[in-house]
């Protein structure tokens, strides 16, 4: 079998270059056509007509971080399942499908335990449940912990 020909990746590079040239080219051509008279007001960030208060680059809600962590776990597992998925049909044809199916199920079992764990921990809830009962419960627990300490 001959070596895999890398020529087939040529269009990928061509398309990426075309996309970049398209954006840069359109902006350069537009420079000849469009007006250019910036004022201090125009160059402000938009905040509904008020002067912007502070920078937007400040602390952000930690929930986004949790989502990205959960995503990384699942995406890596997904990426690792692709090779198994590719060979499954071939192996099934020669009577070895059970082996592949078992490894696939093992992998999915890990994924399921991961999602169950996250669910139980409440990491999948965007809005953490907060009722008067839960508030009292948390407060009492914290007090009990302080007493034992």
């Amino acid at each position: 079998m001959p070596a895999y020909n890398l020529d087939v990746y040529m269009p990928v590079v061509i398309l990426m270059v075309i996309a970049i040239v398209m954006v840069v080219g359109a902006l350069l051509v537009g420079k000849l056509l469009r007006p250019h008279n910036p004022t201090a007001l125009k160059e402000q960030a938009y905040e509904c007509g008020e002067d912007p208060v502070g920078s937007a680059w400040s602390n952000f809600n930690v929930r986004f971080y949790v989502v990205s962590l959960v995503f990384i776990i699942f995406d890596v597992e997904g990426a690792l399942m692709f090779p198994v998925a590719v060979i499954y049909k071939k192996f099934n044809g020669i009577g070895q499908g059970g082996l592949v199916l078992a490894s696939l199920l093992l992998f999915i079992g890990v994924l399921v335990s991961g999602i169950v764990y996250c669910w139980k921990k409440g990491d999948l809830d965007w809005v953490k449940s907060f009722t008067l009962e839960s508030y009292h419960h948390d407060r009492d627990q914290a007090q009990a912990e302080r007493k034992t300490a």
Partner: protein, 399 residues
């Protein structure tokens, strides 16, 4: 390894071989590599232009269909039926003043639209328009689409971050978290289709299906129907289409991640979005709806050349065009559904979005994956129709 794409499609023809011989003789070296590049470049250029047109017509279709659903006229002044509206919009965009906020990160502000465009246009390389006119049939096809289209998420996040405006920042954060979250159910649904197709190459996956609906993967077994629904919902969220358009929610975030972008920079975000919708509709058509397959094998050489008796070269061409027609029809129908959904459903809340993804779609996709794998193992990869036909034939044989 035989890679059946535009280059091999043309390099089989006599005129190409003649040209290659002449050029090689003239320039004193083997010009086939150069000609390969030229063919790739011309084909890529054509596809990019067609896709830019599709993006433009997408905005027109969006406005026309929304007008139709709301019993309005929609754009009808520029050109016949307002068809040239998108050109007028383009001219307007390019004449607009380019305003960059003083407090923004100029460098990231510049590359954010570029990243979106690169991410979308690079996926066109493997979009299977037909068996011969695809730019390239990479052996990692679907995986490549998943990977490269993630660049769009980076572009959207950087667009929101670099503007240094609160609205943009909120939109960018929402966009990033939404796109990465919905990648999980989409990936799991795609893995199920890879199991059925037996390869990541789009040619392999489409080739494992047939022209008739009962040969499509969507109706292969009960799990794949649910898988298609999960994929379609996830796809809407990945492309930020309503009801998942939270990153640019115009009623709460002004315009979300592209609030600060004016003129052409904004136009490229919009173009990238519309082309991406076409691309993911194409991927859905290829994975679930038989891709470029035409009913009754009409595009094959046996029918066109042997049965109808067309000469070899025109038969090949007509076959390719029939396949492109089949693929584009399926994709455009899905595109229509996407627009239809946008103007029918209200936007979700952020917590509903996350609940839908992590508590419904992901477990369902996992269940589907197990279901498809077990189905293939139990019935040796046969579709449910084949099983019904077989038992029917066996019962008829008993009598």
């Amino acid at each position: 390894m035989m890679n059946d794409n535009v280059v091999s499609f043309f390099s089989d023809s006599p005129p190409y071989q003649m040209l290659n011989e002449k050029l090689s003789w003239l320039l004193n070296f083997d010009t086939s590599g150069m000609l390969t590049f030229v063919i790739y470049f011309v084909a890529a250029f054509v596809i990019v232009n067609v896709m830019a047109l599709v993006g433009g017509l997408g905005t027109y279709a969006e406005r026309k269909i929304s007008a139709d659903l709301q019993m309005r006229q929609g754009p009808n002044r520029v050109g016949p039926f307002g068809l040239l509206q998108f050109l007028a919009d383009g001219v307007k965009m390019i004449m607009k003043e380019d305003i960059i906020p003083k407090t923004s990160d100029k460098y990231l502000f510049f590359i954010a639209p570029i990243l979106c465009m690169v991410g979308v246009f690079a996926t066109l390389a493997v979009l299977p328009f037909s068996s011969g006119f695809t730019l390239t049939h990479l052996n990692i096809g679907v995986f490549y689409v998943l990977g490269v289209s993630s660049l769009v998420g980076v572009g959207i996040f950087l667009g929101g971050y670099s503007s240094n405006s609160k609205w943009s920042m909120l939109g960018g954060m929402r966009g990033a978290s939404q796109i990465i979250s919905y990648e999980v159910p989409v990936t799991l649904s795609i893995i199920a289709m890879v199991l059925l197709g037996g390869g990541l190459n789009f040619k392999t996956i489409v080739g494992a299906q047939g022209g008739m609906p009962h040969e499509w993967f969507i109706f292969h077994n009960p799990f794949t129907i649910i898988s298609f629904v999960v994929f379609f919902i996830g796809m809407l969220a990945e492309t930020n289409r309503a009801p998942f358009d939270l990153p640019e929610a115009e009623s709460e975030l002004v315009s979300g991640y592209h609030t600060e972008f004016t003129g052409m920079r904004f136009a490229f975000f919009a173009l990238a979005e519309y082309v991406e919708v076409f691309v993911v509709c194409g991927v859905a058509a290829a994975l679930y709806l038989g891709g470029y397959q035409v009913p009754f094998g009409l595009s094959s050489m046996e029918v066109l050349h042997t049965k109808i008796g067309l000469p070899m070269a025109p038969a090949k061409m007509i076959g390719q065009f029939l396949e492109i027609g089949g693929f584009v029809t399926k994709t455009v129908l899905l595109y229509y559904v996407v627009i239809w959904i946008r103007w029918t459903l209200p936007r979700l809340r952020v917590d509903q979005l996350m609940t839908l993804c992590w508590k419904y779609l992901t477990p369902i996709a996992l269940f589907n994956l197990v279901g498809v794998a077990v189905w293939i193992y139990l019935f040796n990869g046969e579709s449910m129709w084949n099983l019904v036909f077989k038992t029917g034939a066996a019962a008829a044989g008993h009598h």
